[in-house]
Assembly symmetry: C2
């Protein structure tokens, strides 16, 4: 597919934050024209599909500064440098919801916004939930909510569930129920 590729001519660091790094690249397009690409570098993240014995999915309600609103999402978190995503997922689930899991499986990994960011989100599902101890980070404020598939779809239609990873997870959950029938 090399005929679609863009060659980097030069790369300029714009911003080095705690979480993201912003970079401006000058590129040569396949037709020889020169253009710029605004790039956000992100360490990657995990999200967890956790379903209770009562067949409810576990969500967290959380304020999201970029949106200036509180939304309902899958438990999730950023990867620490070099961290194994499955280990991160297990840790984030317990920190945010208090649940521990017996087993964990990888579902899919997706780039959240390939037009400007390299963030790769790893989606996991866990089995054998056991109530552990809720202990969020000191500066993390979340509330746990458990919903049936039907109620979760209602929250999505109402706009309270409105982020890509959680909407994807709801559709995967629905598909699995059908596959099992």
């Amino acid at each position: 597919m090399s005929e679609l590729e863009e060659k980097t001519i030069r790369s300029k660091n714009i911003f080095e934050g705690r979480i993201i790094r912003v970079q401006l690249d000058e590129v040569e397009l396949p037709n020889g024209n020169i253009s710029t690409r605004e790039l956000v570098k992100h360490p990657g993240a995990v999200a967890i599909m956790a379903i209770t014995e009562e067949d409810k999915m576990v969500f967290v309600r959380q304020y999201r500064k970029p949106l200036e609103k509180t939304i309902l999402e899958l438990p999730a978190g950023k990867l620490e440098p070099g961290e194994n995503p499955a280990v991160c997922a297990t840790r984030e689930l317990e920190e945010e919801t208090g649940y521990r899991a017996d087993g964990i499986n990888h579902v899919v990994s997706v780039y959240t916004s390939p037009g400007f960011a390299d963030e790769l989100l790893h989606l996991y599902e866990v089995q054998g939930l056991v109530q552990g101890v809720y202990h969020p980070d000191a500066d993390e404020f979340v509330e746990t909510v458990e919903l049936t598939l039907e109620k979760a779809f209602q929250r999505m239609e109402a706009g309270e569930i409105c982020d890509a990873k959680t909407v994807t997870a709801l559709h995967i959950w629905k598909n699995r129920k059908v596959d099992r029938k």
Copy 2:
């Protein structure tokens, strides 16, 4: 949900690009602590589920600089300031694939990465595809690929379909087929 909110103390512009704007906010957390939030402002985007008469979905193969690779995605594009998302979707579909549509419906709108970006992606489905004229932007390089649901899932398992909007669309497509049975 005001008990989860973060109050903005001050806001600093870091970068003003052609597409994104980067902002560093100092916030007061619900416990009174002070923290910073790295925010990427984005104009929003559209993506289109277009299914041909042969029951194949239309994808575009495109080089994505942030990932440094070529991937297979839904036709998609950024919103121009003030642009109606449905109008943008119709335009992008024709530009990138040459297809015109008879009708268009909104499926769902999702925040792609609510931890650091405000990008809202509007997903549409179109009906009555008619082959029009393929005319990408001068500096846009895309190839069209049409795949059955089964083949598309294989491409996802192989990692060539690997972005959140397209993975979501595949699961929605699969669910719809089941609902119709």
